[in-house]
Symmetry: C4
Subunit: 225 residues, 4 copies
């Protein structure tokens, strides 16, 4: 198997697992995997496919600017520019973008705050953070209709230790050094989001919303716009 | 494969996917796919089948008035008249009717309002709406026991850009130009419904219910009858 | 295939479907199917099996008093007596007992009321009720540790049109003339339970709890013991 | 099949079932099964594997101190010490550690209380408790980053009738005399946790939170830190 076939299969496998969780509702979302360095090429989702199917037209190979490297009738996902920024700014080998109800809720509730930070949750070990008071932040950017502006907004918030970016009411974009790690990061974030929302609900109900460091979230107060 | 076999298989496939999500509880729901134009014929669910099974008696071919085109012992779904109206009034090629807890809740909570409108949600791109302030409305009609009256009520609210109708405590009827697009629309609506209900819950809890354009909903206040 | 093999397979199939939904948590629950009339014999779950597996020791044949009809090392479910009452008092051909979080919640919240009644929900058509104001009631009995007393309590609330009984914090027992209908009834009840609980939550949040006929429930006020 | 192969397969099977429920988010969690007594050896999860896959590198054989018994390049899970304590202090034959949103919520909400006790729930029969007023307690310990300290904290709360320990924001560790019973206990606890949280939510909403024995919980008031 060539390196191209191997990467294609890894990407098809992770896509299949996420599709089984219904994390690509309405053909939303897109995924990519890096194939070569210097210059970068990566496979990225073709636009508008049903991600529950596995076909030879699911991905196409693009360069670091998101242009097709080979002759193809496929159109790269409209959000390929975001994947380009991730590969340009980080050592990611795989990048996943999915919509879940809970990641959309977090992006909206903490959107004005501009980020959400988790602390004192075992699951943050999934990000390689083993310190008792370690924390992980996810920046949140506005959802610009202009995709060039959106790519730039995402690029602007990526710091060396960033593992994911939330776009407001537009899901999570998360990465890792390979498909295994990208999926691990995604699962951990989704768990933290769901846990936080449910604990926040119980917190509101028992009238303890003054405490800003509640529920595994270090800072950030829910803002409802 | 004839066009009839092809359409049958497409409909059986989408039915299977929706059944796997338990979206036909208690044998509820029904699906159809257009086979021919001028005059219209379409396959529609036979009445009262277990939709988790795949059998040769799942569908029957009917004309634009819902009458069986071929000799058959099968009875078309009691709600075939609604499918007839959808094919008469729109360019739909496939039409899906399912019950979920969340689509029933939206139909009840916004029933008095007569519609629900979503805005500023990435998922509305699934309806081909790419403008930053674009919006999508779903009309809601009362659930008349008289099925002729119900079909007429559904027909009355279908406008050129309508993609779906909610019937109060009676699920969603959604369509697209083919099975792929109908499923895409359905998944997007279900995501928007679930997102809105969960955000509304958090909104109520944090006492911000005055804002009528809250949670990706442009207008409409929850009315509980 | 003999009638015995046929009924066994039908029961194994419905058990498999319900197990896939995790409706037998912790080996709870049990199922049965009638094989012969006059005198009645039925297959019933052997005690304490993992219901996600399909084995030749899943069921044993018992008579109308719940005694094994054939030589066997298997022990009938401790709750076989409830199945006996269902076959004695109704024309059921199949009887299913499962635990879900939502059926347990309904049994607790409406336990003091002694029943819950659903109305104006499309899903009640699953019980053959097509009238616009038709309704369906489920009696709720206390969960006596003495299983003879419990079987009698269940028997006492079964009326001609009863389709299911809830035992407080002990799941639902539901039946139909065959496995297909029993499953249809179960799915419809579970949908109605889940719908009602979620609507009730939104109702509490928007302070409209005075209305006793709220949320598809005709009468019954939530009592929390 | 040797006893080693048999135990390996049992452990691989239960891992597969729990992975299918997404109970190992972000490669979290670990499982073990006892192979020999006097001295004890057991198979335990290798560190950091994707638990949705089934491979020959999923487990390694360790002794009662958690040291590999055979030459291997695999590293035992960092939390193997907790499994050692379980096998030292109980007659467990299998031990499972998983993260779910609900077990993490219970561990946080009742963390200050130090335990949660369930009563008057049919599901506690899964623990062999058949008395009408029988109850089952789960101790809750703090989540120390120092794993030796954490293992000791877990060991300190294990009493003869303990079936599981919750670690604060770090999931449940549950055991049984074999894989079948460990899974049965786990499913029953998860059901009780989910049931309690949802009933607690409805309780808060209807302002009945004074009652400390509410919702199948004998004692313990929700403390939100």
């Amino acid at each position: 198997m060539t390196i191209h076939e191997q990467r294609w299969n890894e990407l098809a496998d992770v896509k299949e697992e996420l599709a089984a969780r219904n994390w690509f509702p309405g053909t939303s979302g897109n995924v990519s995997i890096k194939v070569e360095e210097n210059p970068v090429t990566f496979y990225v989702s073709a636009s508008g496919k049903d991600k529950t199917k596995r076909t030879s037209e699911d991905f196409l190979l693009v360069d670091g600017e998101g242009n097709a490297v080979e002759q193809t009738s496929l159109k790269a996902s409209a959000e390929t520019g975001i994947h380009c920024e991730v590969y340009r700014l980080t050592d990611a080998g795989c990048c996943l973008h999915v919509h879940t109800v809970d990641n959309n809720l977090i992006s909206e509730l903490y959107g004005n705050e501009g980020e959400i930070t988790f602390q004192r949750q075992e699951l943050i070990k999934a990000f390689g953070i083993w310190e008792e008071d370690g924390s992980i932040s996810v920046p949140i950017v506005e959802n610009y209709a202009d995709l060039t502006k959106l790519s730039k907004a995402v690029a602007d918030v990526i710091k060396p230790d960033t593992k994911a970016v939330l776009i407001r009411n537009h899901g999570i974009t998360v990465w890792g050094k390979n498909a295994f790690e990208a999926k691990k990061h995604l699962e951990a974030f989704e768990f933290l989001f769901s846990y936080h929302l449910k604990l926040q609900t119980l917190s509101f109900l028992s009238n303890k919303t003054k405490n800003k460091s509640f529920g595994g979230v270090k800072h950030g107060t829910i803002k409802i716009s």
